[in-house]
């Protein structure tokens, strides 16, 4: 009996850790984080508890998809920070695997492009697995629920990485518009081709 209980308990725990490994789903509470910004300061999600929401984007220096979206991410922050939805960018890559994504290179890139948003380094790679980010860029739109943030959209910024002019659906902006109108986000999950997050094997 005792053994059965133990087995059950360990199975439950296994199930839990497997779930935790998959990251968050829409509707889940957003995991908290505290990471170093390119200006040297530490930034936490809780620093944003006066905001309506946060546009959290896992992105990096080296990935051509991230580069293709850089100007659009800057434009998103310029448009939505004043509406209560600032951008936080997080580089999830291990620089020992992808040297272009080192903290020093992040500083250089943020200066070159004059990023108006924090660009945080997921040193130790503990934050991206909690979100279940798998690629760059990978967007998680968070809505402030008072005591914590809720994940309300996961996916791509829009439907055309190659050419902004040919974008037909701005998934992320539509999700923000839904929240601003007091609606549930209509299209709350999209997929896109992206670079794998680089980690040691």
């Amino acid at each position: 009996m005792k053994n059965t209980l133990l087995t059950l308990l360990s199975l439950l725990m296994l199930g839990y850790s497997a779930l935790a490994g998959e990251g968050v789903k829409v509707g889940d509470k957003a995991p908290s984080f505290r990471l170093q910004n390119v200006d040297g300061r530490m930034v936490s999600l809780s620093d944003y508890d006066e905001k309506t929401g946060v546009i959290l984007i896992f992105t990096c220096n080296h990935c051509p998809y991230s580069v293709a979206y850089e100007d659009r991410i800057i434009a998103l922050d310029k448009k939505f920070a004043t509406q209560g939805f600032p951008v936080i960018a997080i580089n999830p890559n291990d620089p020992s695997v992808q040297p272009e994504d080192s903290y020093e290179n992040m500083i250089l890139r943020s200066q070159e492009k004059d990023f108006p948003f924090p660009y945080l380094f997921d040193k130790g790679q503990e934050v991206y697995p909690e979100y279940g980010a798998t690629r760059t860029p990978h967007v998680f739109l968070l809505e402030n629920r008072g005591s914590d943030f809720e994940v309300v959209y996961i996916g791509a910024i829009d439907d055309n990485y190659q050419n902004e002019e040919y974008v037909e659906e701005k998934y992320l902006e539509n999700a923000i518009a839904d929240i601003q109108a007091g609606r549930k986000v209509g299209n709350d999950f999209t997929k896109a081709i992206g670079c794998t997050i680089k980690k040691q094997k």
């Binding site: 990935c63 051509p64 293709a68 695997v97 992808q98 798998t134 690629r135 996916g155 791509a156 439907d159 055309n160 990485y161 190659q162 050419n163 040919y166 037909e168 998934y171 999209t190 997929k191 896109a192 081709i193 992206g194 670079c195 794998t196 997050i197 680089k198 094997k201």
Partner: protein, 161 residues
């Protein structure tokens, strides 16, 4: 003179068999989709990659070896590049030539990836490298990198029956 030219031409023709592709067919997803559903007894190994994707480039030799190891069997390796179309001449073709890739390479140029990623596999988040192996209705999708031993082992599940 004429003889030399003829000889040269013949030489180039025969050499052509082991040369890399000089051009790569470009597909949008609608045109590409039938290649994911061929109903015959060949096993298709379809690897999604790009010249800029470091782990993809690192595992390409494994797929090339796989292609070589099974070239006399009912196994076809296809390398589906997701490079940007504007890099076709500047990056993709030179890359194929430099490495003299022998597996079939195609370019999937369809930026509306949200509409087709699930059609390759609902298990795919969109990150590359990714690989699909199928024969008839038997199929398996992998969002990961492979060594030659690992991909041989997966292929074995398809060809031993």
């Amino acid at each position: 003179m004429a003889k030399t030219t003829l000889f040269l031409m013949l030489f180039m023709l025969t050499a052509g068999f082991s040369e890399a592709q000089k051009s790569v067919p470009v597909y949008d997803f609608d045109a590409f989709k039938p290649l994911l559903h061929r109903q015959n007894d060949t096993t298709y190994v379809i690897n999604f990659w790009a010249t800029w994707c470091k782990p993809c480039v690192e595992e390409l030799p494994a797929f090339e070896t796989l292609n070589e190891n099974h070239k006399n069997e009912k196994v076809r390796v296809m390398l589906v590049s997701l490079d940007f179309i504007r890099h076709y001449d500047s990056k993709l073709i030179p890359f194929i030539e430099e490495r003299s890739l022998q597996s079939k390479v195609i370019l999937l140029n369809d930026p509306r990836s949200n509409s087709w990623i699930d059609q390759v596999s609902p298990e795919w988040s969109g990150a590359i490298p990714a690989t699909l192996i199928y024969r008839g209705n038997m199929r398996q999708f992998y969002e990961r990198s492979f060594t030659i031993l690992e991909i041989e082992k997966e292929l074995e599940n398809f060809i031993r029956y």
